[in-house]
């Protein structure tokens, strides 16, 4: 997909979904303008589990789709030797509803859909906790599960659903929590959320959900990778993230 000029180093970057293709095009432009001799090749996966497994096996140089929480979960589950080498952005995870305009309107028995993959489940539970719909035993726990709910004052019924489907199915649920990229892709606005968590990368509560570029631990200091991270951490990329993505992402780096 990218021009593979002779004598350049090819870096394969594993992505999940295709939302980030604009960003990586810009990273390539930055690298080209620096004559870095690096060609980025992106490889899209449908889900992160396979992408990580591929990288752990050396089939990808870098990945850029997950946040700290997911990576840590994956490492603890699978013993991968992977390390973050740079932060990228934070993707807001908010509560949306077609039915209600305010959190207070949720009633007992209302079904609320949250992402089914493990770390986003945890993150969504924290959103519900912050919205006051449920109460977690410890809202700083890394990956809380439904078992960590100690109180459910609103009486909502939590359903785990595949993230991309949640937007589609919003009319059938009282509410749903999903990543901003799905909301934007579906032609909605992030600001429609009935409850938002402030997407501030410096908020320690949100730190685990900052997305990162990941390399194999043994190669985390590879200068080529560092050049890629540096190119990502440029103004051009930051501009693209803020301008083209309509609030989907908030840059989590300084340039």
């Amino acid at each position: 997909r990218s021009n593979r000029a002779k004598g350049t180093t090819v870096v394969t970057v594993g992505l999940v979904g295709d939302s980030d293709e604009e960003i990586w095009k810009t990273v390539q432009q930055v690298l080209d303008s620096e004559n870095a001799g690096i060609t980025i090749e992106t490889k899209s996966f449908q889900d992160g589990i396979c992408a990580n497994r591929a990288q752990a096996n050396g089939e990808l140089d870098l990945t850029a789709f997950q946040h700290y929480a997911f990576l840590e979960q994956e490492i603890s589950d699978n013993g991968y030797e992977l390390s973050p080498i740079g932060e990228t952005y934070i993707c807001p995870l908010n509560l949306y509803s077609d039915k209600y305009t305010d959190v207070s309107q949720f009633q007992a028995g209302d079904q609320v859909a949250i992402p089914s993959n493990a770390t986003n489940t945890g993150r969504a539970l924290k959103v519900l906790d912050a919205a006051g719909l449920i109460q977690l035993a410890d809202n700083t726990k890394e990956n809380p599960t439904v078992d960590d709910i100690v109180a459910n004052p609103s009486g909502i019924d939590i359903q785990l659903v595949d993230s991309p489907s949640i937007v589609n199915l919003l009319p059938d649920y009282a509410g749903g929590i999903t990543n901003a990229n799905f909301i934007v892709d579906a032609g909605r606005s992030v600001s429609d959320a009935v409850f938002q968590m402030n997407p501030d990368a410096s908020d320690p509560a949100l730190k685990p959900y900052v997305n990162i570029i990941v390399a194999q631990t043994s190669k985390k200091d590879d200068p080529t990778y560092q050049k890629v991270v540096d190119a990502y951490h440029s103004k051009a990329v930051a501009d693209i993230i803020t301008s083209s993505y309509d609030g989907t992402y908030v840059p989590a780096f300084s340039y």
């Binding site: 589990i49 859909a113 089914s116 489907s165 589609n168 059938d172």
Partner: protein, 225 residues
């Protein structure tokens, strides 16, 4: 229960959910299986009758049905299920839960089922149809008394195959909020690496499919002479 606890700790921890998902799978398979069986039989009969060498050739009806079946078979099921959400909602009142899963499952399996029953009907000896014709039987009666009846063993065989495929599809609608065993396995086994959840699911599915195949075989034996 102790074996369950020690061998399948994660399943034991969410045992009611596991049982629920089994029931959901059974309900989805049963309801959508029955509906699509009826539809598939209807379509297969229509295709058989209106084909060029059928009893009442009708190029238009045949082509429309034939193409429609192909169209539906060509759409990856997850995409189909997602695309059907508005229709599902209109028909079933909701697009989620076991109830919302029925319609996409029916749409997903019927084309395949139709082709299977169609080939079961094609297996009915031409001579038998001629014998019925020579008795002056009308087309609907030939369908009922010869085509469907003589194809019973084959229809049972393909129904087993279609049911097993249907179980596969329930795993996919589970993702879209249908629940069921496949969803259970994907959420816990695949996404959370609880291998015991995967194994428990597979065991239940193997038993389920084993039962279906066993019942199918018995029925075939009973109906084949």
């Amino acid at each position: 229960m102790t074996i369950l606890n020690s061998w399948f700790p994660n399943v034991a921890a969410r045992f009611p959910e596991f049982i629920d998902s089994i029931i959901q799978t059974l309900v989805m398979v049963l309801v959508s299986g029955l509906i699509s069986f009826v539809l598939a039989t209807l379509f297969a009969v229509l295709l058989t009758l209106t084909a060029n060498d059928g009893l009442t050739p009708n190029r238009a009806v045949f082509n429309v049905l034939d193409k429609l079946v192909n169209l539906l078979r060509s759409i990856p099921f997850i995409i189909l299920a997602a695309a059907l959400v508005p229709v599902t909602r209109a028909i079933a009142g909701t697009a989620i839960g076991t109830r919302g899963a029925i319609f996409p499952l029916v749409v997903g399996i019927t084309p395949f089922f139709t082709r299977q029953i169609q080939s079961a009907l094609a297996g009915v000896d031409r001579g038998l149809i001629e014998a019925a014709e020579s008795l002056g039987m009308s087309v609907p009666r030939i369908v009922r008394r010869v085509y469907l009846r003589e194809a019973v063993p084959s229809i049972i065989r393909v129904s087993v195959i279609a049911t097993v495929s249907l179980i596969g599809l329930t795993a996919v609608v589970g993702i879209v909020g249908g629940g069921g065993l496949g969803d259970f396995a994907i959420r816990y086994g695949y996404q959370r690496y609880m291998l015991d959840a995967t194994y428990a699911t597979i065991i239940v599915l193997v038993v389920l499919i084993g039962i279906i195949e066993f019942v199918g075989r018995q029925l075939v034996e009973l109906t084949e002479h």
